[in-house]
């Protein structure tokens, strides 16, 4: 990949607000950069990414309407709609 590609950015919507991330960033990164929790736990705690590699499911969010998607395993695409899981 040529190095200039790393500086290219995409914009995704996280809970309705636009977030600009570097090309190649995962959805989990976009949610952290937005300062949002990925999900709310069964007892009501905010949770963010933990393992970063698709094991723990703490970063699960709805991506373009598909619920329970692991944010760390999906790359951001321009215009993607991401919402935290309640």
């Amino acid at each position: 990949m040529p190095s200039h590609a790393l500086t290219t950015q995409v914009t995704v919507m996280v809970n309705g607000a636009p977030i600009v991330v570097p090309l190649g960033a995962t959805v989990a990164v976009a949610v952290v950069l937005a300062g949002q929790a990925c999900r709310t736990s069964v007892s009501g705690e905010p949770r963010g990414p933990l393992c970063g590699m698709g094991i723990c499911y703490e970063c699960r969010v709805a991506i373009d309407g598909i619920p329970h998607s692991r944010g760390c395993q999906v790359l951001c695409k321009q215009g993607m709609e991401v919402s935290s899981e309640k």
Binding site: T26, A28, C51, G52
Partner: protein, 440 residues
């Protein structure tokens, strides 16, 4: 380039880290039709994450990673990324799922190279956002999370901590302290033993140079993470004293545990937390081989050797496989040295307070688990380990905390969609023949 893969492989490799890539390349170079499947969107596994493993080179690429990627590419291995194996509906076939659907993959020989995950241990506040695994935060940074100017505390145990801390520093983070739970005496002994491993010694010295000025504390571990909606301070036990330090992230992992779920599902025998294999990396289930961390955590060097042996043995090139036995033995000795050095201290079993959540999926607290004698009892009564991660996080933690033994594994080994479950029960056939992200 996207194209439809052959539905059946002579050798199918599960896991695209170093062990899997080496197995796939060696088998394909012998003329076999080989496929490699990985849950991630790119090959390379965790250790080579962020490096170009599609056969192209760039200035950031580890030469070893690109060498194996090129060998795979040249020998015509079919890569299936973003695809997660959830079940074996019948011997010789695996069912796998991605964001768009599911598909069946046929095989004659199977190589499991499913890698390892971090051991994550509970302590008060560990569920706060921005408390992550050590490799977990590194993976996030490799995937675009900027940490320039952020204060990152690195804690836990194992050689990964040094590499992770050096990586964060290189990317502009400030590291207020590194906490290694192992005592100085163990680390000093490791240092002495490294004279027998010049390449490792050199690596260690290079990391030490990159970490010049970063406070390194042995005999130290996290006690509690603080913050309202997100982490802002960490209390640590630092060589016997308690100290609270402001930070933006905690990167905390207690070495690695093998990913055994798929091996268990296929009926492979497991002992001492590792998949049992013979000299040729063959498991107790005859067409199934296993290489890398699942046979015992040993790092990238051992994984590459085991992967090659498994790949060669799967295509019956026993003489070439045998030539690697000596190198494997040496790499295994080093792995045992690391195990001894970074053995977990008993204090880590007592970090939780009664209300500390141990099972993060189902929010089961330490005090609720204390009422149970076995993992099975805890599962049945509290739903501990029954959430989406299926005990991948709290299982290893409760093994340390309560000495509970893990249960058998049942399909699906990962949460799966209803169409996939329908296929498992035999009511439906896979419809998706083309998988996005697939390329040769």
């Amino acid at each position: 380039m996207t194209r439809e893969a052959p539905p059946h492989f002579e050798v199918l490799v599960i896991g695209g880290g170093p062990a899997g890539m080496a197995a796939a390349a060696r088998a394909a170079e012998c003329g076999a039709r080989v496929g490699i499947v990985d849950d991630n969107f790119r090959l390379g596994g965790q250790i080579w994450r962020g490096q170009s493993c599609d056969g192209q080179r760039d200035e950031t690429t580890d030469t070893e990673a690109s060498t194996w990627a090129e060998r795979m590419h040249r020998s015509g291995v079919t890569s299936l990324c973003g695809l997660r194996v959830v079940h074996q509906p019948n011997p010789g076939a695996l069912l796998a799922e991605n964001l768009d659907g599911f598909r069946e993959l046929g095989y004659q020989k199977l190589v499991l190279a499913t890698g390892a995950r971090e051991r994550l241990l509970p302590f008060p506040g560990w569920t706060l956002p921005n408390v992550m695994g050590a490799g977990g935060l590194q993976a996030m940074v490799k995937c675009g999370l900027p940490i320039r100017g952020k204060r990152v505390i690195v804690a836990g145990t194992g050689p990964l901590l040094l590499a992770v801390a050096a990586y964060f520093r290189q990317h502009g983070a400030e590291i207020p302290v590194m906490c290694e739970q192992a005592p100085w005496a163990s680390l000093a002994w490791l240092g002495l033993c490294l004279s027998g491993w010049p390449a490792k010694l050199l690596q260690g010295l290079q990391l030490k140079r990159n970490l010049a000025g970063v406070p390194f504390a042995a005999n130290s571990w996290p006690l509690a993470a603080h913050g309202s909606r997100t982490l802002d301070r960490l209390t640590i036990s630092r060589a016997g004293r308690t100290e609270t330090i402001a930070c933006d992230y905690l990167a905390c992992g207690f070495h690695l545990v093998p990913n055994l779920e798929l091996a268990l599902l296929l009926g492979c025998a497991v002992g001492d937390g590792c998949v049992r294999v013979d000299d040729f990396q063959q498991t107790t289930v005859s067409p199934v081989f296993c290489a890398g961390e699942p046979t015992g955590v040993g790092g990238v060097e051992l994984a590459l050797i085991e992967g090659q042996i498994a790949g060669l043995a799967a295509v019956e090139r026993t003489t070439e496989a045998r030539a690697l036995f000596g190198a494997r033995q040496r790499a295994r000795r080093f792995a045992r040295l690391l195990d001894r050095t970074f053995r977990l201290r008993s204090e880590l079993r007592h970090l939780s307070s009664p209300d500390t959540i141990v099972c993060r999926c189902e929010d089961v607290s330490y005090s609720r688990l204390q009422q149970h004698a076995t993992w099975r009892s805890a599962k049945l009564h509290t739903r501990c380990g029954m959430g989406p991660c299926q005990g991948r996080v709290c299982g290893p933690a409760t093994q340390l905390l309560f000495e509970w033994k893990p249960d058998s594994v049942r399909p699906p080994v990962f949460p799966a969609r209803i169409e996939t479950l329908a296929a498992i029960s035999g009511h439906s056939r896979p419809e998706h023949s083309e998988v996005p992200g697939e390329h040769r």
